[in-house]
Amino acid sequence: MQRSMKIALAILWFSRATLALAQTSDADPPREATDSTATAPADEVVATDQPTATSTTDDGDDAGTTPDAGQTATPDEAASESDDDEAALAAELTAELGGGAAGAEPEAAPTPETSGGGGGGGGGGGGGGAALGRVLMLPNISLILTSGLWYFSDRPTRRPSGHDPTANASGFRFQLQEIELAFQAAIDPYLRADVFFALGLDQIEVEEAYLTTTGLPAGLQLRAGQMYARIGRFNTQHFLETQPFVDAPLVNRHFFSSEQVRGLGAELSWLAPLPWYVEVSAQMLTANNEQSFGVPVDQTRHARDFLAVGHLDQFFALSDTWSVKWGLSYAQGPNITGGLEHTAHDRTQIFGSDLYLKWRDLQSHRYVALQSEFLLRRADVEGGRVTEGGLYAHLDARLSQNWQLATRFDWLGLPSKVSGAPDFGVTTAPAMEPFTPFAQWRAALAVSYYFSEFQRWRLQYGIDRLKSGAAGVVASRDPVHEVLLEYQIVMGSHGAHPF
């Protein structure tokens, strides 16, 4: 692992230097003509008259090297000199500031995510970016496009098709992961709505579409609609924008397959009147997850067909720069291993604990965050019970405005226990085997480069070792190496970032 860290750092510094060189050598002749736009960006158009003056004098006047000797050179000399001077000076600056103009840290997101919605219940976006949109009473609209190119050394396991990098065999593959289209607005003084669509090449799905009350008494808040279940931290986020990796943690994919746990229903949450942040929430959602739960929406009839979720969130501001958020989750719902008639006995329970520890440098965009979740699943099926645990931990460092480095470890099979002689019965697809325990681990290292707050590249290397699982298909195999290159753009309103 140490070795791959070193390699990644080398790649990082190399690309940084390359970029700086590209910027320096990019001498574009029409630049002088557009000087005024370069020095007076739109924000200041009204009040800045100076830069225009600068550009006109630049053209015909000298660019003497000392301010005091300003008036000595002739216009002709100056015109030719100024270009050379500029290029030479730019090269010197590159050397002095160490590339990328010193990786300066001006205005840009400390976290890249936009329209992060779900996290912590009740998305953001009110009063968002488009001032004109607000005048026209339009909701905040954003579109986030994510796609990538993957290489797998062998056929990957537990990469269900959907938003994760997927492949049926070794080799290269191009994939449109998601186009997320979001609409967020206040409905009236009592209610707001947040709607997130995931568009694929040939399908549209509603990721989330919920209403949130803004003014119930006693610290209460009600949400209703299609929403993510508050099982842990990852499951509540639109992860392609908010998480520092190309893919989802293994345990989430193993337990919940290609989508996060979500359903139609309602949530009541309560902000406890305590000196620190304590939020308690309860959800009743349809249990239409394809893996651990499973009653389709149109066949949901009884209370027992719903998924019940309880979540407790606590936050401790240790200092201005250190924060800890700790969550506990419990979910219980039907599985359909015995068919729809036996959902009273065939229950799946999930116990979860999630931790997020963050250090933020107030004066820049630098932060370091540790995020970890443990999920335990207990499934009662005909004839027995399967208990299985999974864990992931990741470390995420924002090095500057432009660079981010993250590493993650995933484990499955802590513990892994089958009691009785469980009959998995009705499985909707042979490959899914919803409750077969896996022994598997993964490790990943990801480097992201943000051109601006609205555009980024991400390169991730992963190693995936399946020791046992997927009964009847594979018993044990060699590690799979993955190289994942992802590109993302953000269009439209500037959503807020969940903590």
Binding site: A42, D61, P67, P106, A108, Y277, H494, A496, H497, P498
Partner: protein, 313 residues
Amino acid sequence: MNRFLEHLSFCAGVFALFLVGFGTTSSARAEVRVVASVPSLGALVQEVGGDLVHVDTLAAPNQDPHFVDARPNFVLLLHRADLLVQVGLGLEVGWLPPLLTNSRNAAIQLGRPGNLDTSTVCGPLLGVPQGAVDRSMGDVHPGGNPHFLYDPAYALRVAQGIADRLSSLDSAHAATYQANYHAFEGRLQAKRTEWQHLTAPYHGQKFVAFHESTIYLAQFLGLHEAGFIEPQPGISPNPRHLAQIILSMRHDGVHLVLGEPWYDAETSRVVAERANASLVRLPGDVGANGVHSYIELLDHIVRSITQALASHG
């Protein structure tokens, strides 16, 4: 079973103690609870509200107000607030909206009397983009430049707006809020005369700033913005752009580079050095660098800038 009841009642007792403790601390506090998004707004609220208000500030004084983490402890402050005072114009858009939704506090939602967007009372906005706006121009604020608290004339109007809002929320003390405002106005006006004397010799001089946060400061000091280290708002400086800036500074005799503490010091230093100019690091906001009030903040800025300009004759 008895044992269980014992435990249960113990837990309930602890919980009740928490509630009581919380209740008493809150009632012992000041009457109007105000949350300010940035420290200088908090300082203005304190000037106008005096002992009648309790002010909490969200952004730290040495932190870029565009990029504050939406920490959940802010939700608690907002939940209990009677009044939220924000800058507006999209300055807080990256972090305040989800906090506001999660606060479950109807009184401070947008458009309510408990939500004061000070950009609506600060006076004529500068830097409002003309014509079509899109992100090829960088991360522009379509409603106008939000950094108006650098001009005391604007801050005075904001203080007046805060006094008016506090007066309507807490009408029993309206006279006190107005009196506090007038006292503050008197002190600020006296200072403004002093600042005018200090800056008069340098009127018309130019400076380069890191970010487009200085348009109101330039207006207040009678200086001109000659360019920015960022090629466009929110876009990292590149060597080519820096070279252009340095050459034009040398050419135009620009002797001053300004930047807030959250912008890269090294880049600013190199630009200033190569252009034979002085770098003045602005102090950030009230609470940083030994600055304890709004007037001290501007005093600090005026003195450091005039000293730097004086050193260039």
